[in-house]
Amino acid sequence: MKCQKCGKNNADTHIKRVINGAFEEYHLCSECAREMGYSNVFEGFSHSFADDFNSLFGSFFENALPARTQATRCETCGAGYNDITRTGMMGCADCYKVFADQIMPTVRRVHGNTTHCGKNSAAAKKQAAEPKKEETVSELDKLKAELNKAIENQEFERAAELRDKIREQEGQ
């Protein structure tokens, strides 16, 4: 689709607006969009926008670095990484955890920062106020500590026993 303002470039920015009493949807190229004040956030990487995305923020993640862990789907909301790059929208709060590696470079690029500073939700305050639960030492860690002690004390029979138990647990 061609830009509705200049008619020359490909439209890659989709804008909804009200003008003269009517609702309008408008397709613009990144240049015209910028001229009209619509694309400041994307300065510098708007040219790699895909052609067919359907929101102003679409292909938001187009330039994200390849992720170290390739989570493909959020179990909470069902959004795949593809859905997110296509629409520029996260599916739910958990998506931020699931796709953290993929999106953080872009978040940093847009905000110049990745750490919140400001008001804290009451829910977060409540969580922070709750006494932290004692880290439950896992059975496995206990066994490993015992093993080290046994080796230190040269109780090799005991050590062999413990090693078997650890193997058994790790195999589970």
Partner: protein, 330 residues
Amino acid sequence: MSNVVMLTRIRLARNLRKYPFPCRLNTDGKNKVVETVVGAIKNSNSPLADDFDVLYVKDLSEAQRISLVEAHLASPEFISDSAGRAIVLSKDREMSIMINEEDHIRLQILKKGFDLEGAYDVADKLDTLLDENLDFAFDEKLGYLTQCPTNLGTGMRASVMLHLPALQKSRAVSRIAGNLQKLGLTIRGTYGEGSEPEGAMYQLSNQVTLGISEKAAIDNLKNITTQLVNQELSAQKRIAESVRTQDKVLRSLGILRSAKLISCDEAMTLLSNVRFGINAGLLEDIDINTIDKLIFDIQPATMIVNKQESLTAEQRDILRAEYIGKVLKK
């Protein structure tokens, strides 16, 4: 000062932890979010609790929807879809909450004049009261979690609507716009598009929401606004001395008082000239608030809603001319 700044607005984006964001929520899910949020408002100990209207987008006519945008209460995005969307409005329209726009909650405080701290204070209190009844999606590191990552962190957009006729005339706005971006702000026309929007009205907002506190963002916006206002005022003083400018202001008032037909665009341009004339001390017997009310009332969809019947473009232009003439009558 407050005459250059026409409106101040604070918007906060919030989401309920329990539900997926609106883009992955079906109509049933959205309706549940509306119910939950409206319930929380009723149970909150806020001034909004006993005195508000809930409008469901699906129940509104096209003109009613558009007039919400003209009144700066809803976004074009919000009215582009009606399924599972509702807006909560205080009787005076100062407080409003769009439900299921891009986020579950877009809480807005709109104040006349220049009052960023005052508007934020009201928004902050309302947000805190809602937070008691709603579990907001929040992350220690990323702040408020939003559907679009551009709003992460505080989820706050603070903006001021500025009337900049003199800076627009000297083509300074587009030059300023480039610099504003480096300061984390963005400026765009309020009505109409391009470098010379209708009525020389612009909206200046903060752009970055992550890693900058609400207070720092507001201070930044306030500083830049103050500088822009001072630039505008000195430019106004300069051009007000020219006979051409004085002639334009008085002619504009003349047309507004006596026209038989007037389009919204023309009226906006002329009202902007008159508003400038009042600010620059060229017109003394007109109250600037009268002009500001006119700017709002003559918007096309708002006229239809107020008249409570459908109108053709020409009927609107006649009615608009009559109305303006009556209000500005000597």
